[in-house]
Amino acid sequence: MSRLLDVNNLKVNFKTYGGEVKAVRDVSFHVDKGEVVAIVGESGSGKSVTVQTIMGLIPMPPGIIKGGSIKFQGKEILGVSKRELRKVKGSKIGMIFQDPMTSLNPTMIVGKQIAEGIIAHQKLSKKEAKIKAIEMLKLVGIPNAEERYNQYPHEFSGGMRQRAMIAIALACNPELLIADEPTTALDVTIQAQVLELMKDIQKKTDTAIILITHDLGVVAETAQRVIVMYGGMMVESGTVYELFENPRHPYTWGLLNSIPDVDGPEKKKLIPIEGSPPDLFAPPKGCPFAPRCKFAMDICVEEMPGNFEIGEGHLAKCWLNDERAPKVEQVFASEEEKAIAVGSEK
């Protein structure tokens, strides 16, 4: 597989009155052609900032790129001119946002919002762009596409608007689609439809996808690789299989423990991750998760752990993976059993 996107040591800060917020601290990951990569993590962990930096959507100021590189198809796109970046965004990378209710311009017909991206990137006349836009509406499963072309966003339902957003993002047949929590604002039934649509299109067009989500169920179903982010850092990454079967970071354990299991034979108590996320104005010098971590050792507070390579492409930023650390994976496994036991007692 060839490398499509390569993010290395990305650091993004935001200047505020209270000081500089270190929103993204040294994030590296890559996306291969046709691959679905999920980024998970709680609110404020830097997921959105990371992908918006790729698209050059971070307003500067207050945003400041502190370092790193983003290579798309081998070409650096971080810090290039707006004009240079415009050749990539919208045409080679498309993006879908979280809230379809506010992501479409309320005073412009939906069709035109799809067509204008096509006109900007491809040498097409308005008429040809319109034909292409109607085609896109059909592709994303909007019935009466010709009629819908001339309607305004307020005449669309939430799910339809997200479909329209997908049509906008895919209008120029991009190599990479960035979906920033595309289903968070939708009803559960609509969520499933939209995800199904994205999977379907991914199969048809072989577009790579970066999927940001809170929903580990969605991750398991759609992604090939997962990146877990916490406190502006990537704490664990690996294939979906590796990460669900052999998680090596206590935060990932916490995430996996907090998935409700509705199908299981026994009632299982949900285990929350106690505490609150780190203060990104003055992040701790050690592991950002240490204050909330049950297994934290002295070194965790003192020194930032490196990326321990667990297996092929499986990295974990946690001291527990040092050979000198106590083996605690068993503890995680037994916790899970204990939780089941607690649930069944009630």
Partner: protein, 308 residues
Amino acid sequence: MYIVKRFITMLVTIWVIASLTFLIMKLIPGDPFASDADVLPEEVVENMRAKYNLDEPIPVQYVLYLKNLVMLDLGPSIQSETRTVNDLLADGFPASATLGIQAIVVALIFGLLLGIIAALNHNKFLDYASMIFAIVGISVPSFILAPLLINFFAVKWGILPVASWGSFQHSVLPTLALAVTPLAVVARFMRSSMLEVMNQNYIKTADAKGLSSFKIVVSHGIRNAILPVVSFIGPLFVALITGTFVIEKIFAIPGIGKYFVDSIFNRDYPVIMGTTVFFSTILVVTLFLIDISYRFIDPRIKLTSKGD
């Protein structure tokens, strides 16, 4: 259907304004001949009162007044014996309206431009410069600005006439003097509206499409930002075209601005009534037109009689 309903409401509004003006005027003690009563014989004053129907009971006067109003006859002016209120307005309105329209065009073009430039350069030099200009524009009264303009452009440099009315050159200075305050107000409105719009998610969507900054501002920013400004253009427009006492006085422009003030001092009932009704009619009609124009600017607004 909505338009018909809205039109009827408009007529009712004008009737209410006319009636209230009539009532308030009658509540003020005295009449146009109160000062003459001391020097003239009683019979003469009686005769004059009778001529203008002021001797009739108030309800009768009211009915007479409404009857004339429906026929678009605003009655004779008491002050100038030979002219009717219709004449006064017909003579003065063209000058006032020309001046007002020129001023509003200047205020809108430069105000919107200034507001947009300020918003796009948020917290940078151009933003501060435009807003300092706007604050000065709002706080400096026109009776200070007008003499200043006259002093430089007419007296010192001699490129424009000092005062009076006639050619386009005559209208330049009063237009500027009149436009500065509304220009500043429009600029401030547009700036805050534009700032809000440029932070909306759909602007991010447009950016992610790879559109040029110019395209984003023009086709996604301005149209949404201008909505709140439109609602405030109506009253501003009416205030400017119906003449301004101060500017017309300073530049000796034969507009209708002076009648608003003079008629009250002279207790010239028909002129007070006439100017008030004239002003409110234009205001109500303008608001009506603006309401309809919303339909074309904001597709979410539908002209239906129901609220939903």
